[in-house]
Structures are given as C-alpha cells and as structure tokens.
C-alpha cells in the first residue's frame, strides 16, 4: 500500500520543488478511482536534483519492474543522466517525471498548478483543466474513462452546462 502521507512529507520537507500529477492529483480533485502510485513532475535544477537524491536515499528507491540486483544507484548523477524514473520505494511506488506529454516540465506546469494541503503538508498539484489536458494529450485508451470522470468533476465544480 502506498503511504501518501510519507511520500508527500519526504518530498515536501526538504523543500523539493514538485507538482503532483496523475492519479493522485485526480483523487485530490475529487476522483473516486483507485490508483497505486504517486506521479510527480520535479524541477530539474541542480539544487532540486540534489535534494531529491538525498531525500529518497534511505527509502530504498529501485527501478520498478527491473530484475533485482541491477547496479542501480540513486544519486545526483543518475537523476541528471535520466529524466523520468518509475520507482519502488519503502513508502510505495513513485514516478518522478522530468517532463510529461502535453505539459512539458516543471516550469511549464507551474502556472497551471494549485497549492493543496493534506496531512499538514502543503504541496503543488496540477489544476483540474490542465490535468484533463495532459491526460488527453497522453492519448492512452485506458485513460478515457478517467478523463470522462475528470471532465464530469470539472462540470460539477464550475456548474457548466453539458
């Protein structure tokens, strides 16, 4: 089971710059769908990468789905050389994304994010219209129902006529 509180705290307390996207962001906006992992877009600055490397170092990060025993090292160099990481950690599955389809990186998404508060932690979450936009842009058939739900949530919130 994913420890959302633990993951959000691990990322927020050292001051890592990130934006919640994906299924957990959808739940934060009111989705009733089950999701297992936490997806975040992180800022790819030297300082932020250093904080990410340190914050997750004692959470046993490892590449999800990869055979055990690979010489994978979670450090600044690995993060710099890569972009998107799908990880397992002691706190649950975590997707660290440098960029997302239809949304770009942290800087592009920042103006379209909102601050949410949970478990005494404040963090940024992609706003609902842009969450729908990036899910549409991803073009995955399995997202169709999720997008329909998000659009229904948007209509409920804004009171728009369909």
């Amino acid at each position: 089971m994913t420890d959302f509180k633990g993951l959000l705290r691990t990322l927020s307390e050292p001051g890592i710059e990130f934006i919640l996207v994906g299924g957990v962001a959808a739940v934060a906006h009111g989705s009733a769908r089950l999701t297992q992992d936490v997806d975040v877009v992180y800022r790819r600055t030297k300082d932020n990468i250093a904080k990410l490397a340190t914050a997750l170092a004692d959470k046993t990060p490892y590449l999800r789905g990869a055979p055990p025993g690979l010489p994978f090292r979670w450090d600044q160099e690995s993060i710099r050389r890569g972009l998107n990481f799908t990880l397992t950690t002691d706190l649950g599955d975590l997707d660290l994304l440098g960029e997302i389809t239809g949304g770009g990186g942290y800087e592009e998404l920042l103006p379209h994010s909102v601050v949410i508060r949970a478990f005494g932690i404040e963090c940024r979450c992609l706003d609902l219209p842009h969450l729908i936009h990036v899910k549409r842009a991803a073009g995955r058939p399995r997202d169709l129902e999720a997008i329909a739900e998000l659009e229904a949530i948007l209509h409920e919130k804004t009171g728009d006529q369909e």
Binding site: F4, K5, V27, A28, Q36, F119, P129, A148
Partner: protein
C-alpha cells in the same frame, strides 16, 4: 508595437489588449468536447463525485488508502481461493 492606450472607465482602467489576451487565455484553456469521452461520460457515477467533493483533500487521500487496502485484501483472498480449489 505601440503601448496599449488606457481609458478610464469608473474606478478601473480599461485595456483593450488585456481583453483580447483574456479571451485568448480562455480559449486556450477551453477543452473542446471529444465525442469518445462524451460517450464514457454517460456512465460516470455523479453521486460518487458529489460525495467526494464534500471531502477535504486529506479525506480523499485517506479514502484512497482505504480503497488500496481493500483491493489488496481482495487480491489476497483470490490467491487463497485459487490455492485451495
């Protein structure tokens, strides 16, 4: 490019360029209806959404963790059943 000429309208300044940029921003954000998504939308349970919208973000995440626990228990029960049958 010439700077926008501002015209006083009561207490607020009227900026014709701002009106255009607001319109463009609104248009950019507008999600055009997708016929496939519209079909899926018919089956969305709005009552679940309305109940979720009454909750705080924290309560929604706690509910998700409960759902994960339940799903894990169902998977475990399924494995047990397959072992014994």
């Amino acid at each position: 490019m010439k700077p926008a000429r501002l015209r006083e309208t009561g207490r607020e300044c009227y900026n014709p360029l701002k009106k255009v940029s607001d319109k463009l921003a609104k248009k950019a954000l507008k999600l055009e209806p997708d016929p496939v998504i519209e079909v899926y939308k018919k089956d969305i349970d709005r009552t679940l959404i309305r109940e979720n919208l009454k909750l705080s973000v924290e309560e929604r995440l706690l509910k998700l963790m409960e759902l994960q626990r339940f799903a894990r228990e169902l998977r475990r029960a399924g494995r047990e059943m397959r072992k014994t049958s």
